[in-house]
């Protein structure tokens, strides 16, 4: 491939890596672990898929690493409420993705948003509306696609459709990864937009502690401002 086209491919990958790392960084991950997870997704994505029976296979970077990240974020979720919401959002996102895949037109130009992104947007929307946090949106974004793919696999077996199910087969470019990242971007944008519309955060009087808005504070100017700052950061 000529140098220019190689650069085009290289820069595309670099931008995806940079954007991905920054998005993971917005959740409860340190800079280092965000880079490590993105590296694991990219390197794992290049490795061959692991076959599970005749019709199923799973890719390390495209499905296993995002799933590990989901489990990590789930375990680290601050409250029981957030955990329950994450599960509900994932199941609903899975149903929504499955239905959208089935009922939307088959040609990409007929869909307002390209199929690659529509799943991320659908699961991200469901995730954000139900779970209201970046972590839960990511969980719903990733699990929505995984559950919808498993659902398709079950249908294939029942209906005798010879299509294989390759979970995360696209590696770093798979809908699972794109959907998870897109869900976080979406929750970030909606959250910021909503906050701007209402003229600031609703959580001015809450203390930001261990990645959560916890107990109420006495109204006091300094702490209010500090909390606004904390709200922008949401999690470290």
């Amino acid at each position: 491939m000529p140098f220019g086209l190689t650069m085009l491919v290289f820069i595309s990958i670099l931008i995806l890596f940079g954007v991905g790392q920054n998005i993971l960084d917005r959740m409860r991950l340190s800079d280092k672990s965000a880079i490590l997870f993105m590296l694991a997704i990219f390197i794992g994505g290049i490795l061959p898929d692991i076959p599970i029976g005749n019709r199923f296979s799973i890719n390390i970077g495209g499905a296993i690493v995002p799933f590990i990240l989901v489990v990590y974020l789930y375990v680290k979720a601050g409250t029981k409420k957030e955990k329950v919401r994450s599960i509900l959002a994932s199941v609903l996102a899975g149903i929504a993705v499955f239905l959208v895949g089935r009922l939307m037109p088959s040609e990409p130009e007929n869909i307002v948003v390209d199929p690659n992104y529509i799943y991320g947007i659908v699961s991200g929307l469901v995730g954000y509306l139900i779970a209201r946090s970046r972590r839960a949106s990511f969980i719903a974004g990733v699990m929505g696609i995984i559950l919808a793919d498993i659902g398709q696999g079950v249908e294939n077996v029942i209906m005798n459709i010879p299509s294989p199910v390759r979970l995360g087969g696209g590696g770093a470019l798979d809908a699972i990864v794109i959907s998870g990242l897109l869900a976080v971007i979406l929750s970030e944008f909606i959250g910021e937009f909503r906050e701007r519309l209402q003229g600031g955060t609703e959580k001015k009087r809450l203390r930001f502690n261990h990645g959560e808005f916890a107990e109420e504070l006495q109204p006091n100017l300094d702490s209010e401002e500090r909390n606004e700052e904390a709200d922008d950061e949401d999690e470290e």
């Binding site: 085009l8 009922l103 088959s106 007929n110 139900i130 459709i161 010879p162 299509s163 937009f193 606004e228």
Partner: protein
Amino acid sequence: MRMKSKGWFMGIIILLLTVFIMSNYAIADDWYEDELGYYTIKGEEGDILGLMGREIFVDDEYITENNRYYRISSIDKDNRIAIATYIDDIELPEIEEVAINGSTCAVDTLSVVAPNEDAHVLIYCTHSDESYVPSDGTPSIVGSGGILDVAQSFNDALKSQGVNVQIDKTCHAPHDAGAYRRSRNTAIRLIKTKQPVAALFDVHRDAVPKEQYDINLAGQPATRVRIVIGRRNQNRQANQELAYKIKAVADKTYPGLIKDIYIGKGMYNQELSPRSLLFEIGTYENNKEAAQTSAKFLADVVSKSLFGGTIKSVEKPTKEYKTTPITYEKSKGQSKGILWLVVILAIGIVGYMFISSGGRELKAKILGSRKDGDNNK
């Protein structure tokens, strides 16, 4: 508690709305069932430019067989008519004519690509169920559509020309919006395992009346070929350059084989690799055998467009042409592609900054940082 129930309520409303809206779309997409399902593209004077078994949008671009470049300016959805405004005549790459030195034959199998050319041509079929009614008896066969036979002919003809070619006949059924997501994994797997990549082709057949695609080439019944390019990705220019080269070579050697080029709103997995194209080889009303003949001719054109060589015209008197490998040609595609990526990234960042900082919040941030200084961190 109130917020929780509100979130639930909104989630369910969004879900129901999505299902409702998308189910309406689904009905509109059943082209095979609906003979009037296709669009007619007309020029501003009312002249018919072509039929399209795809949804058309304003700003889509259309290049006719005689290289006239149009942009869709308005759409009458009820009557399925798209009006296209003439923009310009496009200039295809020059193909050098050389002195004739041999007998005529339809496919110039003697002129194989250079043996050190190790780049791969990759082929797959997103709509692996698509079939040809006169030969297959139905427009769709899950698991073994007639399109797979046409793609196989394309693959075999490329192979006979010395091209490193790899076909993947994975089934992507059902034929729904998920098909492109499933075929995306197939394309990525091909790209991953067959480096370096010369080109990536997704083989389809169209869904318009056969008159649009019928043609006789080299005395054989064949079908025309439409090239479809997605306009929403960073590889668009590089893909378009390859499409122009293929059309330039085909126009000289297999006149009429390349029917037209449509540059539509979808992405068609073409963001995965530069030089990715979608071919519509014939339509569901054509004979599969005619489409297979065209696939062989197309392979001749594609191999010479990518890797260079000599190629003979099927029209009499026979002429011979020399093509240069596309690798050695000047290309603007990559710089435009990189610029496209950077612009998209910049829009995203600026958009986010605009939403997240502004008015009171921005003021509070500035004042807050002045007051608290580094203690805030």
